[in-house]
């Protein structure tokens, strides 16, 4: 074979090899393509499933929240429905007792007393059951007020006197002279004392019942220590364990012989703990019992009903709660704990920042309406601190006219759409008499500025405009207006910042500022707020659903995205 023929054969072999390789490559490529297509389909299916599942869960959750609300409504109306006929039974038996007396028919008395007694007993049972239902539904509220402790004790003593006398018992009251005023829930303290005293009266015959009250000083407000002791039937150690559990009266024979629901002490202990204290008991069978209640004299600020933290593995996230009002804090804490979030609470600016840094929560809930808490300052501090600025914040605020304005230090607040007459009246009222009618309009929306300008110019106001926070400050520096109309939601430097700058400057501090917002936040405004890692909820009007949804969304968003908008 010549050299050429050899080369030709090799060339041919190479060509065939290359073609084979290309065929394989093509096949592999096609396989990859088809696999990708299948993966894409599977992915779509999976996403669809996830979406469905999420919708189902959301629906289930909403249903649960609805059920909870329905339960509250049920409790409230049941409460009224059950008590009304009972009040009639008790009331009419009392009327008949009086009339029997008038008619001098003493033989009717015992029967009527039985009806009345049974009615009162039933009322007590219903009250207990409704209390327990309320507690278990998490709907038991606190109502804090100042009250005179000695006065409460004498009121309680007078109420319980006939019960104690019924079993021929002797009643002794020993109160420290300087019990002073307490700041707590008076109605609950009364209920606690009445429960313990009526128990003592019930289980003691021809014995002695003693009520003592002291106020040992420990921390601010001190402590109130009440003891209720009796020389009654007492309890065995077995009977003492589980004494404060609901539905476990010491034993069945007790119930038969002495009546009662077995709920009173469970309610008493729950109330003591709600108030920041507790109740303990010592007892000796056949000799008597002593119950000791300890309650803070001044309700502790950051107290919250003890909600068990979810077990480590199930924690959905940690939430830092900055809310001064007990009722709100408790409601929020409970709603979130039920969803699996661990709650950390703070009630001051310093605590807030420290806890945010230490705990690195997944979300922060901040009340910006409470004057004592200065939520706006805390918000500013959080957003400018390098360690914690990226933690999403949910603002709780009342978006009612007055509150929003005053919370921001504005003189007045207008909601869109703006009524021209109202605007003029307000401006006239707000600017001082001598000042020239010079107004600065700050709004990033051209159309809004036009409308406002036209309205005001017609009434001989001199109008200046600024399309942003920065421009606003420039305009302010140029000359001080008599009034400033300020839009809250602006890109870049927002209305909040402008307001803060104005308040902190000596020359500008006294300029009346009218802030303008929409009555209900528009989707744009909500988006804007969300973009600033904030969510805003209307206090009182929000439902737990919204709050929980917001927290969940925040936590998930924070976990999934790696970058957040840097604050300007």
């Amino acid at each position: 074979m010549s050299q050429i023929e050899q080369l030709e054969r090799r060339l041919e072999r190479e060509r065939r090899a290359r073609k084979a390789a290309e065929a394989i490559a093509e096949e592999k490529t096609r396989e990859i393509y088809e696999t990708n297509v299948r993966l894409q389909q599977l992915n779509n299916q999976l996403e669809e499933l996830v979406r469905q599942r999420t919708t189902e869960l959301a629906a289930a959750r909403d249903e649960a929240i609805r059920a909870s609300q329905a339960k509250s409504d049920f409790l409230a109306s049941m409460s009224h429905e059950l008590r009304t006929p009972l009040n009639a039974i008790i009331g009419y038996s009392e009327i008949l007792l009086e009339e029997a007396e008038d008619l001098v028919r003493p033989e009717l008395r015992p029967d009527l007393e039985k009806i009345r007694g049974a009615g009162k007993h039933l009322l007590g049972l219903i009250n207990d059951i409704l209390d327990v239902s309320k507690i278990e539904a998490g709907k038991m509220d606190l109502f804090l007020e100042n009250f005179d402790v000695a006065a409460l004790l004498s009121d309680v003593s007078a109420t319980v006197q006939p019960l104690i006398a019924k079993n021929s018992n002797v009643f002794e009251v020993h109160c420290d002279p300087d019990l002073g005023t307490a700041h707590s829930d008076q109605t609950k303290v009364r209920q606690i004392l009445l429960n313990l005293l009526s128990n003592a009266a019930k289980f003691t015959k021809q014995g002695r019942i003693k009520l003592t009250a002291r106020r040992p000083v420990r921390g601010d407000g001190g402590y109130l220590e009440f003891t209720v002791s009796d020389t009654g039937i007492g309890m065995t150690p077995t009977q003492v364990t589980g004494l404060f559990e609901a539905f476990s009266q010491a034993d069945a024979t007790i119930t038969r012989n002495y009546g009662g629901t077995g709920l009173g002490l469970a309610i008493t202990r729950h109330f003591c703990r709600m108030l920041g204290g507790d109740v303990t008991v010592t007892s000796e069978y056949g000799k008597g019992s002593t119950f000791t209640i300890t309650i803070p004299g001044a309700f502790p600020k950051a107290a919250m009903e003890p909600h068990p933290s979810p077990p480590e593995e199930c924690i959905a996230g940690t939430v830092l709660l900055l809310e001064d009002e007990y009722a709100t804090r408790n409601a929020l804490g409970q709603a979130l704990t039920q969803e699996g979030y661990r709650i950390v609470a703070a009630t001051s600016a310093d605590d807030s920042l420290r806890l945010a840094r230490e705990e690195k929560p997944d979300a922060i809930i901040l009340d910006v309406i409470n004057p004592e808490l200065d939520g706006w300052t805390i918000l500013r501090l959080l957003k400018t601190d390098l360690d914690v600025w990226d933690i999403p914040v949910i603002l709780i605020t009342a978006l009612g006219d007055r509150d929003m304005g005053f919370a921001l230090g504005a003189a007045e607040h207008l909601t869109k759409p703006i009524n021209p007459k109202e605007l003029l009246r307000l401006l006239a009222r707000v600017k001082s008499a001598e000042a020239a009618p010079d107004v600065l309009i700050v709004d990033d929306d051209q159309a809004t500025r036009d409308v406002l300008r036209r309205t005001l110019v017609k009434e001989n106001w001199t109008v200046r405009e600024a399309a942003s926070g920065t421009e606003a400050l420039q305009q302010l520096a140029r000359a001080t207006p008599a009034v400033m109309l300020l839009d809250l939601m602006m890109p870049g430097m927002d209305g909040f910042e402008v307001l803060r700058a104005v308040r902190q400057d000596a020359t500008w501090r006294d300029i009346p500022v009218v802030i303008v917002t929409s009555k209900d936040l528009t989707t744009d405004e909500l988006e804007w707020l969300r973009g600033h890692a904030m969510d805003v909820l209307q206090k009182g009007a929000y439902r737990r659903t919204e709050l929980v949804a917001a927290v969940r969304a925040m936590v998930e968003a924070a976990r999934s995205t790696s970058s957040r908008p840097v604050p300007t």
Binding site: S79, H80, R83, T84, L86, N87, A88, I90, G91, Y92, E94, I95, E98, E99, D102, L123, N127, F143, E145, D185, Q186, T187
Partner: protein, 122 residues
């Protein structure tokens, strides 16, 4: 002894309380709703008004506010009858201008004492 106006929408409650007060020697007038209560207070000038708080047409708080705002009826003492000792209800009643409050279920002695205190005032 005194002319009492009872403003209560529940028939049984109205019957019970008016009978027991009449037995105590008082002259008892009744009104079935808040608006009626305001009218009757103005026309009858009772010595004391017992006002249930949850009333139809006009609720007890609004009725109280109106009575306390009008010079003709301002001086007539009003005792609010609130349900089940809710502290918040009590505050609300006093804030509306009630001179005192009592809780249902009514304990006659307790209510009579409060009434006496207000009737012997002024």
């Amino acid at each position: 002894m005194a002319k009492i106006l009872l403003v209560e929408d529940n028939e049984l409650n109205r019957d019970m309380l008016s009978r027991r007060l009449t037995r105590q020697g008082h002259e008892v007038l009744v009104a079935h709703d808040g608006a009626h209560g305001v009218e009757m207070t103005a026309s009858e000038r009772p010595d004391l008004v017992l006002m249930d708080m949850s009333l139809p047409v006009l609720d007890g708080w609004e009725a109280t506010r109106r009575l306390k705002a009008a010079p003709a009826t301002r001086a007539i003492p009003i005792i609010a009858l609130t349900a089940h000792a809710m502290a918040a209800d009590r505050e609300k009643a006093l804030a509306a201008g009630c001179d005192d409050y009592d809780t249902k279920p009514i304990e006659l002695q307790r209510l009579l004492e409060k009434m006496q205190r207000l009737l012997h005032r002024g």
